[in-house]
Symmetry: none
């Protein structure tokens, strides 16, 4: 009997991101949007591997990255839990990462020939799900 909520995650083979990255992004989004509350237990490594029909090592790697980034707490013998959020990066580093992400995104959408307004709408919609409206 498990109180663990099954994760609403889907692995897309056409996605250029590697599998473990899709899991990391997906879980981060679920946490940031509040669908996974602080302290909530995640599916076990083996359980999520079965659910997604991938190798347990791949799930373990994704979970391990999330723990390193401070999103999850891993407790051997118990499982993984959503961690209390805290600011881990310096302001400089945050700025650099924002720059990198914006530049990469621009590179990705150039050539798709969408008008800027359409792209911005999509981004705004996605961000509305998980980002604060005001600075924390």
């Amino acid at each position: 009997m498990s109180r663990r909520t099954p994760l609403m995650l889907q692995i897309v083979t056409g996605d250029p991101r590697p599998i473990h990255r899709q899991i990391v992004d997906g879980v981060r989004r679920l946490i940031a949007s509040g669908e996974l509350a602080v302290g909530a237990a995640l599916p076990s490594v083996r359980g999520l591997a079965l659910q997604l029909t991938i190798n347990p090592n791949t799930v373990a790697r994704a979970y391990s990255e999330l723990a390193t980034e401070g999103w999850l707490d891993a407790r051997a013998g118990l499982g993984l839990f959503v961690a209390i959020p805290r600011q881990r990066l310096s302001d400089d580093e945050r700025g650099r990462r924002l720059d990198d992400a914006v530049q990469r995104f621009a590179g990705d959408v150039i050539g798709l020939d969408y008008p800027a307004a359409v792209v911005l709408d999509r981004v705004a919609g996605e961000l509305a799900l998980c980002l604060p409206k005001k600075s924390a």
Copy 2:
């Protein structure tokens, strides 16, 4: 052949993108922004490789990708030229790529704790440099 404009490109070793990707993105951006006009000749593979001090194979690969995507026309014995713009991808494919890019971008930005408005501003600024205001 002095008609060939030297490309205003710069390879950044710290950039997470592979070199050929930086070239492809850079050329696409120069074309999209109009700095490289339709019909303009590009530097030769060897010339650009010398200019950027990288392997000619890498330049050849970038040019080949740009030709495959329809940005460049190769004329045997003459060189590569900026092609006449045309629709290069199916609507489905374009939609899927936009989705992927937006999701990846959101994954990168979540947790940096920037307000959505700040992120959107930065994206808008970057897109203004290279995207059309209206659909082509």
Copy 3:
């Protein structure tokens, strides 16, 4: 022919730290002490695995952690290089990590029955090799 310096690293099976952690600690120390200069190339994943007679995956994991922490830059097809140092963590996070490390260390040496002065000497000797004397 390789300009890569062989790493002065040794894996100790009796050490409670897992192998990949011993590599990470060792490389961090070599970089912090200046024995590995900024921009220097590291042994290839496969090469170090042969040198230490461990599985390439284990080396790859250690290198990947070092890259994530910002100590190394990985360039596919070229190799790994010592990155330019920068402050990535917030002051709060740095304080928390110092606290954690000190507490863990105290727990490790309690019961070894060494006088405090001896322990402090050993720590001072180790830190002298790699830490700044004044705040940067």
Copy 4:
């Protein structure tokens, strides 16, 4: 059995150490600091498990480790008592463990960019709480 002093111990879920390790460290510290005198009786396995709301198996394991290391004496039918201090490890083993602990600590602290003096002060303060000033 009211002669058993309740232990001033606290289990911290955020602590990276496993629970049994927190108990072992805590009891060792109470003994080293003299708060638990030689011959004093410890709470029963079940009692401590209730007090800390953890699994009795975990308490039993911690007690067993402490007994193996010579900190506690088990008297059948009576319970566990603080043992008479004696040398518990070979000099070689003690030396190796000190080395390991110092190396691990250095690995944790490198890169936090604290001056060595600050780190040493923190260590000295922590050790003052539980280590002898002179060799026992």
